[in-house]
Amino acid sequence: MGGLSIFPPRASAMAGELDALYTFLLVVSATMTALIFFLVFFFAVKYRRRSPNDPMPKPIHSSIPLEIIWTVIPFGFMLIMFAWGTKMYYNEYTPPTANTLDIYVTGKQWMWKVQYPGGQREINELHVPTGQSVKLTLASEDVIHSFFIPAFRIKHDVVPGHFETFWFQPTLPGRYHLFCAEYCGTNHSRMGGWVTVMEPAAYETWLSGGATGGSMAQQGEKLFEQYGCVTCHVLDQKGRCPSLRNVFGHAVQLDDGRTVIADEAYLRESILNPNAKVVAGYQRDVMPNFQGQISEEQLLQLIVYIKSLSNPAAQPTGGQPATNAAAVKGVTP
């Protein structure tokens, strides 16, 4: 930080790549701008009218080859930008499917609440270790926010009603800005904080200092009892509701014959609006709607708990596209 560099600090694996692409764009644009400026200036001086009696210049109406040249060449450069930008975009928005450090973030007017799997909580602060792929699951309690870390060159809108995922791999220890980038009301400009990137060892020390009230899964388990889920969803038994052991990441047969993979989005929907997709062999209208009854933070804790009931090896791994509602309706990519 400091100085008048045109680049923010590069603190993630992606940042260097993006700066390379940005520099490419800068060079191409600057060349084009210089060319146009030069030509306009040069023509203006060279072909200025020297006396009012100058004869009218001969018209030059058009030149098809010239038009083609200055259409095709810039378009060629644009195609490079398009291909390069698209490739990186897919990388930015597709988190690795295994070996990620999962952290859960909830945005609300006007703060970011962070929960770690170990139960640590923070507001407007995020701690991450270097060298590790970090996957954030984002939710919003109210309006659209946008989670933006310039030093990692990454941002994603947090639209209420959905989980959004977000990933990066920090490389450089330090403290970096965290911003909300989608206008969200009065204190939008203060809805930000700091991301602290630490060496893995320091990170472990930091983690061990902060946990209170048990891990996220334990907190989720408490909620599971508190909301009475446990009375119907009896573990390892066929109660009035399905057992949740080994559900996350597995295929679930629905009562209308479809099959879905139980991912975060499915669990979310099934908690908030249970009748949307009912497991085959179970009755509708047994479970109450939790829409509006449960906060996004609690929802995340419950989901982490349900995840913890699953055998981690069974989670979807790379190369196998996770299925969801849209894909199940018969439209597959």
Binding site: N275, D285, N289
Partner: protein
């Protein structure tokens, strides 16, 4: 006039777009709510509107060949049919009111599974049919003007442009309904 109708197409296009998206998102809920739409009333209304379009087309034809009396009679027919349509629409709206199907704080839906989605559907139903009814009312006003103008001998074989333009407008409103009817009433309405 066609340029104006272009605008109108896009105006309704926005709502059709919204409808399509939600239908895609919540097909079951949409099927469930269209059970509450009165197909009989909707069907009668479709027929009424098509008939009015028919009389309108004949009215334009009468104007073309300069038959003043026929023109006025046909315009009055069109107007009456238009009013009948709005009357039936009123009956339907009233029914929704009684059933608490008006979106807002008083909204109530019997099937709790689809309460929220149903509210969105009814919202779209009212937005779309409401806009359509508004167009009908404007059209009825325009037809009244035409009748007055015709009675005052303002049209001739050589000049009947207003009749033609308002005719186009009326047909357009008819077309919108032709699409609204299956989308709102018929989808999922099988036993």
């Amino acid at each position: 006039m066609w340029v104006f109708l272009l605008t109108e197409i896009m105006f309704f296009g926005g709502m059709f777009g919204g409808y399509t998206v939600y239908r895609n998102m919540y097909p079951e809920a949409f099927a469930s709510t269209s059970r509450f739409m009165e197909v009989t009333l909707g069907g009668i209304n479709t027929a009424v509107l098509i008939t009015s379009s028919f009389t309108m087309a004949l009215a334009v034809r009468s104007a073309q060949i300069g038959k003043k009396r026929a023109l006025i009679t046909l315009l009055i027919c069109t107007l009456v049919l238009g009013i009948v349509f709005l009357g039936i629409k009123y009956v339907e709206y009233h029914e929704k009111w009684v059933d608490h199907h008006i979106p807002g704080p008083g909204f109530h839906y019997d099937d709790p599974r689809y309460a929220q989605q149903a509210q969105i559907l009814f919202y779209l139903y009212f937005a779309m049919t409401g806009m359509h009814a508004l167009h009908m009312i404007v059209g009825a006003g325009l037809i009244v003007t035409l009748i007055v103008m015709a009675a005052r001998n303002r049209f001739s074989k050589g000049w009947y442009t207003p009749v033609e333009i308002i005719g186009l407008y009326w047909h357009f409103v008819d077309i919108v309904w032709i699409f609204l009817f299956p989308l709102l009433y018929l989808i999922g309405h099988h036993p």
